[in-house]
Symmetry: C2
Subunit: 209 residues, 2 copies
């Protein structure tokens, strides 16, 4: 078989998988790089948020977190976007079938790996998605916080472009409140400073009245 | 102080660092993405090679490797390129002052972190650079192997563009030979297939005679 590597079926599947996931570098997010030169892609986002997890670990409320599992979760958590695309955090329509699209993507992508690895990766991905363990909660907190830092330091370019207001950002950041008192204090401060600087809009007053 | 976050000096330094390292997303390598659409940047390369380390761990000769340390090493090993730039693997001139440039970069970048973290990160980076531990050797093997896989699957575009020949590639891949019998077998096969397909040039015969 032409695609077989050194008569090793496990390695052959693994190499195919590693070639396939290169596509994540072409999945664009709504977040801009700090220098505003272009949109961020999901592969580099995954790298950034993994390093955030390492740097900020001491601020987690739970001092017993398994950092190794957190990093592996963050490295793979967005692989499903290769098929399912990046669903913008504030796209309520896109969220309707997000779960279904992403499950199909996970089945196809992790299905390229040998069975034991497939199960391990699927389980790490599900752990992140379900958000029930302390590790998943901390990982989700950073995943939500990262674009807010980007938005703050880029003059709110993605918030303003997409008409996002304060209450949407704070709601989205709720996992931070659960995971870390310190990072939640930071979150409130960065949101407030953004409003003071006019780069994030406060909620419209009594819009529905 | 305007840049102080929630009166927390540690967090303030950590956030500055996390903002600064965003620049790695703009450091371009000589490797093309699998779809040849553009050059790869070092941030997404770091993500890719970290996941490679997870997927291919079973093939390491040493079964007792500390994967957690390997991943952290790979996530941060190229941060120095923010200041020092990416030195092309086959650029002998660039390698002359590479160490000096990169040490200055490490001092500046890791210097933004609180002291205990600075020391930890510096030591992880030095471990990778020195390449003496089994973890550093395995990490280096993947760091060298990743662009070869890219080159093979992109029709050797970067090899041909830069006039790279077989012996240079094999020399560069020597860490793979040390770290993994299986991956070294794979390396030899992927290099041979690339030559058979005419996307990597064999060495010129008796060039010096």
């Amino acid at each position: 078989m032409a695609n077989q590597w050194i008569d090793n079926e496990r390695l052959t599947g693994q190499i195919s998988f590693l070639v396939e996931i290169d596509k994540l570098k072409n999945v664009l997010r709504k977040t801009f790089l700090m220098d505003k030169s272009r949109l961020e892609n999901t592969a580099e986002h995954s790298w950034h948020v993994s390093l955030m997890a390492v740097v900020l670990l001491e601020h987690a409320n739970d001092p017993e977190l398994d950092l190794h599992r957190i990093i592996r979760m963050l490295l793979l958590h967005d692989l499903v976007e290769i098929d399912a695309g990046d669903t913008f955090a504030y796209d309520t329509q896109g969220y309707l079938d997000k779960e279904e699209r992403e499950q199909a993507a996970a089945d196809r992508l992790f299905g390229m790996l040998p069975e034991d690895q497939r199960e391990e990766w699927m389980s790490l991905w599900r752990e992140f998605e379900d958000g029930l363990t302390e590790e998943a909660k901390y990982a989700a907190a950073l995943d939500r916080l990262q674009p807010v830092i980007h938005n703050h330091y880029t003059g709110g370019v993605s918030w303003l472009k997409n008409g996002i207001v304060k209450s949407q950002v704070l709601k989205r950041l709720d996992p931070v409140r659960e995971a870390s008192d310190t990072l939640w204090k930071f979150t409130q401060e960065i949101v407030q400073r953004s409003i003071d600087q006019g780069i994030l809009l406060d909620d419209p007053i009594a819009k529905e009245v």
